[in-house]
Symmetry: C2
Subunit: 364 residues, 2 copies
């Protein structure tokens, strides 16, 4: 744990706070949103374009990069920053979520998760130690602990307690492995390590999980297992419940949330950071946010003759350059990949601007 | 015809020449290559990126834009430049080639070509007059005459003479329609009109066709019906044959050629302009040119660990930014559209630089 990794600068009556997260690759203003660069790139975009949306830090996926091109190759080529051309900080997830959602899981044991690599056909074990090693080889600046996930289906709920307890035991192993991997690095050269709390929609379990994770030597507290299909009000209720129990000296990360209305509510319940595929994936399908957190579907025929930009008040490069809704609709109609680029830029700017409003608000 | 549309500045012992093509949207240095923006955009690229490769002028496809979004919509939205964001000159093809290669042709008559619009199911007639009107509505700066095409298969060859004669009759109708459409425009506001010579691999027919087209009121001479599957030596032989017969005061355009070795030979046989989908289509499939007109396939496993750029001596934005062959191979492997963008930029720069070497050569 790095005592000065997070500096809280201000809290406001609405419950939001702003501050600075110090990483070895620079300081990040909070709250912030992380675009998802699953395989090292935000799909279709150059690092310079992503930077121009106001993004300060990217999230890359450990599972995907482990499968292709492999973390050893990335390390050999100078690490993920050198490989991808993004020179700002990078957070890597632990690989756990993708193993559960994408791979054919063979067995979950105390040791770790055994799954089948669908590309090579090989069986692969990811353990807490292995996850730390992969993220370290990728040269991640913010490393996530490897957790045991549960969904919300009845069978999954029945093992919530077991999963929380295993997540805690795995966190202890992650911290130990992290210390081993970083012992020869000066403190200013070490990546940060974040723990993840679980517990589904069970408040007692969540409170215990938060308390346990905050007792460990971790730089940040991530909330896993929300935004996985529960109702919005259930998520809000849990965020309010947790907001009273955080250690103020640590940064809080709500994983997988990127709907503007959810982000606002989360920020006003003390959340500092987010990641989500929503702005880029929705963008590539023609869905864009406009002022008021509303969505437009640019595939709609009513935009065919519309000469206005996506949003007249928007300061993203797509709107400022003057691309019309009519031209964007045409590009979607003919499946030109330029369409998804231009809307991804717009949507990322939308979320980064949302965060900037909380960073910059005077007084409050 | 605009007597000063082309100014020849220099001819060289190697047979090449350099000059200036004056269009209503600016002067273009010759020789030049036109990237293909089939539906208004060079696939995946912004106008600014295309411009940064050294491109001076784009080619857009009349057939595709007629089908979607329709030239009337484009006109309503201010023309193709305003619609697409490309503010330099645009050449439009006549639609003839695409009608033959993409649509279900119902009937070719003296009136024009009747085909089925596969999108709407409607039957559509494109006549010489209609082609002029569509290109005029798109606000094209260089309008191509509508020609009757033949391929090189035996059946097609048997109607070569008929097709050449019809092409000539249609050219007369194109010139008449063009005059009608432009009669209220000042000369400096008029688009240019190019005629197309046909004749397959028959030298006598080609000579007649060239003579006929040069007798008409057209600003440029386009060579159609080459690079359609004949052997390279047959194309070279025809280009040499034609090189002795051109009117030096008019620009010459070899349609559909974009292989560097072919472009060099064509330029050294008096050709001034080119278009081709090769740099962008090949690029999207991972094929890139490097010094010496050689090709690399970036999908190849041997590039997986290669930290060098595509070409160390290249001044394109992809190579200058430092994207490695290893990262590009990875992007192709995971089907990220960024891959095709970066290689399209490289390949376009390759061809534009090739042309610039002929534009700038001192002495010679």
């Amino acid at each position: 744990m790095h005592p000065n990794s997070f500096q809280q600068i201000k809290t406001r009556p609405n419950g939001s706070r702003s501050g600075i997260l110090n990483t070895r690759r620079g300081a990040l203003k909070t709250p912030f949103f992380m675009p998802v660069a699953t395989r090292g790139a935000v799909k279709g975009l150059t690092p310079a374009e992503v930077r121009a949306t106001g993004a300060q830090v990217l999230l890359a996926n450990t599972y995907h990069l482990h499968i292709q091109p492999g973390e050893k190759l990335v390390k050999k080529l100078g690490g993920l920053h050198q490989f991808s051309g993004w020179d700002g900080p990078i957070l890597t997830d632990s690989g756990g979520f993708q193993v559960f959602s994408l791979a054919k899981v063979r067995k979950i044991t105390e040791e770790g998760v055994l799954f089948k690599n669908l590309l090579s056909g090989n069986e692969v074990l990811i353990s807490p130690e292995k996850s730390m090693q992969i993220q370290f080889n990728l040269d991640s600046d913010i490393i996530m602990a490897f957790d045991d996930l549960t969904g919300l289906d009845p069978e999954a709920r029945s093992r919530t307690t077991e999963a929380v307890e295993r997540t805690h035991r795995w966190l202890v192993r992650c911290v130990a492995e992290y210390k081993k991997l970083t012992k020869n690095l000066k403190e200013t050269e070490q990546p940060l390590l974040f723990g993840i709390i679980q517990g589904g929609l069970d408040k007692k379990l969540r409170a215990e999980s938060l308390e346990f994770v905050q007792s460990q030597s971790v730089d940040g507290i991530a909330i896993g297992g929300l935004a996985v299909g529960e109702g919005r009000s259930e998520m809000y209720d849990m965020l309010k419940f947790l907001s009273l129990r955080y250690d103020p000296s640590r940064i809080r990360y709500l994983m997988g949330v990127g709907e503007p209305v959810d982000m606002r509510l989360a920020i006003e319940n003390g959340i500092d950071m987010f990641d989500c595929v929503l702005p880029t994936r929705n963008g590539r399908h023609g869905s864009v946010w406009i002022t008021g957190d509303k969505r437009l579907d640019l595939n709609n025929l009513k935009f065919a003759k519309d000469p206005s930009p996506i949003d007249k008040t928007c300061d993203c490069n797509t709107c400022k350059t003057g691309y019309s809704r009519a031209f964007l609709r045409h590009l979607f109609k003919v499946a030109d990949p330029l369409a998804g680029r231009l809307t991804s830029v717009h949507n990322l700017r939308y979320l980064n601007r949302l965060c900037e409003q909380y960073q910059n608000k005077i007084g409050g």
